[in-house]
C-alpha cells in the first residue's frame, strides 16, 4: 500500500476582507461576494514566504507521520511564489527539517497545480521503490495585481504530504493527469504580477481540464461520484469548484469540508492540497476522496484516496485547517495589507 503517511498545513494569521479591498477600488463588495463567493483571504506576515509556509506545513506533516525526518529521500515544493528565481526553496526547508544531505530536492512550478505535481512525483518515487518516504508540498504567497479581480482571492498558505508505505493514512488508489497548452494565466520572468485571459480562464481552461481529469479518472477507476465521501477541486474562487463538482455529479455536502476558499482565498499551489488536508481532518476510515487540482497553462492532476484507520490516530497530532482558518485571526486594513504584500514603493 502506497499513500500518505503524514499530512499537515499552515495558514497565516493575517486576513483581509473582501469589503476592505472592494472599498479601496470603489467596487461594490456585495457584487464581488456574490460573484466570487468569497468573504476574506489569508495574507502572509512580513516574515513569511513560500519557504516558511512550506516548513510549517512540513513540520505538521512530520508530527502526524511520526517518522524520523532523515528517512525522507526526496522533498519537492510546488509554488508560483518561490522567493528566489534562482536558488531552491526546497534546500532551505530540507535543511531546517534536518533531512540534508542525503535527499533529492526540486522546486516545481505549474501555476496553481505545482503542489499536486510535487505530491505526484513523491508518490511515484515511493511506488517505484526508490525510497522509503518522499514529501510533496504545495505552498504559495499568491500574487494578484492591485485592482485586479485576482486581488480578492490571491492568498497565502500551504500543505505538505509525506508519501510512504508504512503507516498509511490515505492510500492512493489511482491518479490521472490531463494537460494541454492553454495560455490562460501567466507571469513573465521579472514581472511582479501575473496576467490572465479574463473569461478565457473559465471554460477553455479551468473547466476543460478539471472536468477532463475528473471524468477520465472516474472512467479509469470505475468509481461513480456517489461512491466518494468527499471531493476537492481547485479553488480559484468559490464558484468554479462548486460548478465543476456539480457537473461531475458531486453534491455540495461532498465538497463542503474541502471548500475552504470563502475564508482562505486562493492559495494557488496550496489551494486544492489544503482543501484536501481540511477534508482529511474530518474523514473517516474507508472514505473515498477525489482530489482534482488545476494549474493554468494548463493542466489538472487527479487523485483518488482511500482513508485508513490510522487517520483516527494522527489527525489530532497537529493543527487542523478549519481551526487555523477560524481562529487567531488578525484583520488588516488595505494600507497594512499593501505594506505586508510589498505593494508600497519604499525609498531604500
Amino acid at each position: 500500500m502506497v499513500g500518505i503517511v503524514g499530512y499537515g498545513s499552515y495558514v497565516p494569521r493575517y486576513r483581509i476582507k473582501v469589503e476592505e479591498i472592494a472599498h479601496q477600488w470603489g467596487r461594490d463588495s456585495e457584487t464581488v461576494k456574490r460573484g466570487l463567493l468569497l468573504q476574506e483571504k489569508t495574507v502572509p506576515g512580513m516574515d513569511e514566504d513560500t519557504i516558511t509556509i512550506s516548513y510549517e506545513a512540513a513540520r505538521n506533516a512530520l508530527k502526524r507521520a511520526g517518522i524520523d525526518a532523515s528517512e525522507i529521500g526526496a522533498l519537492y515544493i510546488g509554488s508560483e511564489s518561490h522567493p528566489y528565481a534562482v536558488k531552491p526553496s526546497g534546500t532551505v526547508v530540507a535543511e531546517a527539517l534536518g533531512i540534508v544531505p542525503n535527499v533529492h530536492i526540486a522546486d516545481y512550478e505549474f501555476a496553481c497545480k505545482a503542489g499536486t505535481e510535487a505530491m505526484f512525483v513523491a508518490y511515484s518515487l515511493v511506488k517505484a521503490g526508490l525510497m522509503k518516504y518522499a514529501m510533496g508540498i504545495g505552498a504559495d504567497t499568491s500574487q494578484g495585481a492591485p485592482g485586479d479581480a485576482l486581488e480578492f482571492s490571491a492568498s497565502a498558505g500551504g500543505s505538505a504530504f509525506i508519501m510512504g508505505t508504512d503507516g498509511v493514512v490515505a492510500e492512493v488508489l489511482d491518479t490521472f493527469s490531463y494537460t494541454t497548452d492553454t495560455p490562460d494565466f501567466w507571469r513573465r520572468e521579472g514581472a511582479f504580477y501575473p496576467l490572465h485571459g479574463g473569461r478565457f480562464t473559465g471554460q477553455p481552461a479551468y473547466f476543460k481540464h478539471v472536468l477532463g481529469a475528473g471524468t477520465e479518472i472516474l472512467d479509469k477507476s470505475g468509481y461513480k461520484a456517489s461512491d466518494f465521501a468527499y471531493a476537492i477541486f481547485h479553488m480559484p474562487n468559490g464558484k468554479f469548484p462548486l460548478t465543476a463538482g456539480k457537473k461531475l455529479g458531486f453534491t455540495k455536502e461532498q465538497m463542503e469540508p474541502g471548500w475552504i476558499v470563502p475564508l482562505m482565498g486562493n492559495t494557488y499551489s496550496g489551494s486544492s492540497p489544503t482543501g484536501f488536508s481540511a477534508t482529511l481532518d474530518i474523514a473517516k476510515p474507508d472514505d473515498l476522496i477525489l482530489l482534482v487540482s488545476f494549474g493554468s497553462g494548463a493542466g489538472s492532476d487527479a487523485f483518488i484516496f482511500k482513508v485508513t484507520k490510522r487517520i483516527n490516530d494522527v489527525r489530532d497530532k497537529a493543527d487542523k485547517v478549519k481551526d487555523m482558518l477560524e481562529n487567531n485571526r488578525i484583520y488588516l486594513d488595505y494600507g497594512e495589507y499593501a505594506k505586508y504584500r510589498g505593494k508600497i514603493i519604499m525609498n531604500d
Binding site: 461594490d28 457584487t31 460573484g35 485571459g197 479574463g198 473569461r199 478565457f200 471554460q203 477553455p204
Partner: protein, 381 residues
C-alpha cells in the same frame, strides 16, 4: 439600377468561440451561405469588420478572407463603419450589383473579440477620440447618458429599459445560435451588476465572436436559380456627430431617422408596413430610441411601447425576434449581416419557434458608435 435579392445566408454560432479563429469563423459562415444559395462562384466579396487590427492584430481582411475561402483572385474589400460595418458591407454589395458590375456578391461580417484584446479600448475607438475617449468616457457611459436624458425628458422608467432586455432574452432563448439562451426578469435586469448607472450588465450587449454572410444576386440572375429570393427593396445610410455633446438633443438618433427615411422612400413603404425589425440594441436604451426614430412609435414613447408588449414576437411590430444584440450576441462587425440572416429566415418562414406570423416585409437597422452612423435595409419576400 438593377434590383438585388438575397439568395443565401449563413451564420456561425455567436458566443465565446475560443477554438475558432477570425478567418475560420468567416469561412464557416460564408460556406453555409454559398451552399444555401447553391452557387459555385462569386464576383465580389465585401467583408464588414470593425477593428480586427485591434482585436487580433489582423487588417487587410478582404484579401485574407477571399484567399481563405479559396476565391482569390475575386475582388474583395473590407468595409468599416464601427458597429455598422456589416450593414455597410451589405449596402456596398447591393451597389456593386445594382450598378451592373457584378451578378453574384458575397457580403459578410465578422469579429473576433475574445482573443485577449482590451475590448473596451478597441470599441472606444468608434467614439470621438479627442472629445470623448481622451476624457475617459466609454460606450456604456455614453449610452447611460442617453438613457438618463430619455428618462428625464420623457419619463421613461428603469423598468421600461429592462423590458427590452427581458423581451430580447425571451426571443434569444428560442434561437439556437444565440450566445445567451437564458430568460431574465425585470428584477434580475435591474439588480444585476451595475455597468454605468442606470445601465446594468443585463442592459448591455455582450462581447462575442461570430460571423454571418449573405449571398446577393441581381434579380435577373436570381430568377433563373431555383432558390428562395428575398428582395432588397430599400437601403439608406446616414451619419451624425461622433461626439454626443455636439448634438442638440442626445435622445435623438438623427442618423437612424435619416437612414430610415431614405430606405422607406426607396422601398416605397411606411413604418406601418414593416412586419418585423432587427435593430441595433447594443444597450436597452438604444432599442427604445431606435424604434422611435424608425417611426414605429412617436418620440418619447418607446419605453411604454416596449413595456406594453408591442415589440414582442406576437406584438404589432416584433423587434429583434432573433434575440437582438443583447441575447444573440454582438460580434460587432458581424451584427449587421446577422440581422439580415434573421430577416431572411423570417421572410422565408424558417424561423421555427420565433417565427413572426405573416412576415412579408422586414427591416434591419445597424448602427455605429453612439449613433454616428446608421444603415437601414428593407426586404420583401
Amino acid at each position: 439600377m438593377r434590383e438585388v435579392a438575397v439568395i443565401g445566408c449563413g451564420m456561425t454560432q455567436f458566443g465565446e468561440l475560443w477554438s475558432t479563429s477570425l478567418r475560420d469563423m468567416f469561412v464557416q459562415a460564408a460556406l453555409e451561405a454559398i451552399d444555401d444559395a447553391k452557387i459555385d462562384h462569386i464576383d465580389a466579396l465585401y467583408v464588414g469588420a470593425m477593428t480586427p487590427g485591434l482585436f487580433v492584430g489582423q487588417e487587410h481582411i478582404g484579401a485574407l478572407m477571399a484567399d481563405h475561402l479559396g476565391m482569390s483572385p475575386v475582388p474583395a474589400l473590407r468595409v468599416e463603419s464601427a458597429c455598422c460595418s456589416g450593414g455597410m458591407a451589405l449596402r456596398m454589395g447591393c451597389f456593386d450589383i445594382a450598378s451592373g458590375n457584378s451578378d453574384l456578391v458575397l457580403v459578410g461580417g465578422v469579429e473576433k473579440m475574445t482573443d485577449g484584446a482590451d475590448v473596451t479600448y478597441a470599441l472606444a475607438s468608434a467614439a470621438d477620440h479627442d472629445y470623448e475617449v481622451y476624457h475617459g468616457v466609454t460606450f456604456p457611459g455614453l449610452y447611460a447618458m442617453i438613457a438618463r436624458a430619455h428618462m428625464h425628458a420623457y419619463g421613461t422608467t428603469r423598468e421600461q429599459l429592462a423590458a427590452v432586455s427581458v423581451k430580447n432574452h425571451h426571443n434569444g432563448s428560442l434561437n439556437p445560435k444565440a450566445q445567451f439562451r437564458s430568460k431574465v426578469t425585470i428584477d434580475k435586469v435591474i439588480n444585476a451588476t451595475m455597468v454605468a448607472d442606470p445601465l446594468t450588465i443585463l442592459d448591455s450587449s455582450p462581447v462575442s465572436d461570430g460571423a454571418a454572410c449573405a449571398v446577393l444576386a441581381s434579380m435577373d440572375v436570381a430568377k433563373k436559380m431555383n432558390v428562395p429570393m428575398v428582395k432588397v427593396i430599400g437601403t439608406g445610410a446616414a451619419t451624425d456627430t461622433l461626439a454626443l455633446d455636439k448634438r442638440k438633443d442626445i435622445t435623438v438618433l438623427n442618423a437612424v431617422k435619416q437612414s430610415a427615411q431614405a430606405a422607406y422612400t426607396m422601398a416605397g413603404v411606411k413604418p406601418t408596413d414593416i412586419n418585423l425589425a432587427e435593430v441595433h440594441d447594443c444597450f436597452t436604451i438604444a432599442e427604445i430610441c431606435i424604434i422611435e426614430e424608425l417611426g414605429f412609435v412617436e418620440k418619447g414613447k418607446g419605453g411604454f411601447f416596449t413595456e406594453q408588449g408591442h415589440t414582442a414576437l406576437e406584438g404589432t411590430i416584433p423587434v429583434n425576434p432573433s434575440g437582438g444584440l443583447k441575447s444573440k450576441g454582438h460580434p460587432v462587425g458581424a451584427t449587421g449581416i446577422a440581422q439580415v440572416v434573421e430577416v431572411v429566415e423570417q421572410l422565408r418562414g424558417n424561423a421555427d419557434k420565433r417565427q413572426v406570423k405573416n412576415a412579408k416585409i422586414g427591416l434591419t437597422q445597424n448602427m455605429g458608435g453612439s449613433g454616428a452612423s446608421s444603415v437601414v435595409h428593407i426586404f420583401r419576400i
